[in-house]
Symmetry: C2
């Protein structure tokens, strides 16, 4: 099943990601409504023409008419929302999300979801260091990756619809992983990198004002050090074991480099650099 | 003393940085010539109008007329060049460089320089992950930092001239550090960040093709993982002690974060994230 113009789409949580989804889907001519906490976000989205309808409360009519419901909430808020409000949703509706960790969320939702609803989890791997609907921008999906994490309870129809959503949003690549594989990879490519950025930023290597002497490399490695601590602490803790494992893996690798340096092993250093240079070429964004 | 249009400027080493200097200075109407190894680089720079004259050998006439000589070479090549060719330089000429490590280079040059020449060291903190004169681009200096590292043997005139060069090149900030302070800071903001990028890139956290599941954070942290191994291994080894120290400092900080995570200390994690967020704001490029 593909997304079609008769589908009514409801976005729950109109922040940076929810807002960017709304922009992209509205541009493509889909019917998009939103429910979020702050009236000001709804007002902004209506003014900008990003949504057709919206409410700053759980509007039963919006819930009852939606064929596709996209949750762009913090993990625990998402789980709570389903627990309290799933009774308002239309039978047969397909639910998806944007949550950055999967195993625990997918398990909790599947454990309590009404049998006439289907939840198919997804992770749009795009973001910004600023949050809020005012910073939403659907160009963040361009060149980016979108991952669907189905389990055995999902139907081929829902999986296809969710993948089609990823393409319609403008992602460059849409793939599938199990929730567990997703969490392992995300611990490395996203959570570990945030841990590194935080640690670089909280180190005090000198009394000098570092900002006067820095180059682009330090700026690049710490761009993500400006973060939403409420959201990221929750994501870290929900994926604690995988993240601890990836941190150890990275620490071991950095220690290898340190030993080569201490030994003055120039060929060993160059070898690591050449390997890193060759591998990095795979990661260029294809826009 | 400020740079003036009567000064004849010679750039030795026409790669990414030397080429970017040539572009910037020629645009401002200065008389720029170059000496470099490859004739093809000279041909390219002449065609592009980046230089007025050039030679792929140590051209005695170019050396003899230069008032200001800028060395954009690998550290050991720079030291060798001075040893072999300083005899061709004009009495009273001022020499500067772009080398990414300072203490050892400054000491070696001062130890052998003719007494009628003056070397004032500088580090333009700008670069690109691609090398060569064809990739040169003076816009890399915009918003960037330029550091002059004088010692007690330098004259106020030469320091002023070197600082003026930084401003004329278009840097956003020109500052002074001792060579030792410079090397300590550079170990942290530049060399450590390269070590991190290499280690992230050479880790093998999963069998999956990571590039299909990555977001911008991983791309940002590894942009510099594509590097010139010959140059960087030399820079690392010339600044080994400072770099080892900064690696340890970072490893300790990352371990602190890991302990907070292992303990499930959410407030501790949020505290580090808030500190990192607040500090990062200082590092935005002011363009």
């Amino acid at each position: 099943m593909k997304l079609n113009k008769n589908h009514k789409i409801l976005i729950v949580g109109l922040g940076l990601l929810g807002g960017s989804y709304a922009r992209a889907l509205t541009k493509h001519g889909y019917s998009v409504s939103a429910i979020t906490r702050d009236q000001s976000s709804i007002d902004y989205a209506l003014e900008q023409g990003m949504i057709q309808k919206g409410a700053a409360f759980v509007d039963e009519a919006l819930c009852a008419e939606a064929d596709i419901v996209i949750f762009a909430l913090y993990p625990h808020v998402f789980v709570e929302w389903i627990r309290e409000n799933q009774r308002y949703l239309k039978a047969g509706a397909i639910l998806t999300d944007v949550t950055g960790v999967k195993s625990c969320v997918v398990e909790q939702i599947h454990g309590m979801l009404r049998s006439d609803l289907e939840f198919i989890a997804a992770h749009p791997m795009a973001g910004r260091e600023r949050s809020g609907v005012e910073n939403s921008d659907d160009s963040i999906f361009r060149g980016a990756n979108y991952v669907v994490t189905p389990t055995s309870v999902n139907t081929p129809d829902a999986i296809e619809l969710c993948e089609d959503l990823g393409w319609k949003l403008g992602f460059a690549r849409v793939s599938r992983l199990s929730p567990e594989e997703h969490d392992e990879i995300i611990a490395f490519v996203s959570q570990l990198t945030h841990c590194i950025a935080i640690s670089l930023m909280t180190c005090q290597p000198t009394e000098q004002p570092l900002e006067d002497y820095t180059g682009d490399s330090f700026r690049d490695l710490t761009r993500i050090a400006r973060m939403n601590d409420e959201m990221w602490s929750e994501l870290f803790l929900l994926n604690k074991d995988a993240l601890l494992e990836q941190m150890s893996l990275f620490q071991d690798e950095l220690s290898k480099l340190k030993i080569l340096l201490r030994e003055g092993n120039r060929e060993g250093l160059r070898d690591m650099m050449r390997k890193s240079t060759a591998r990095r070429a795979l990661f260029d964004k294809k826009i």
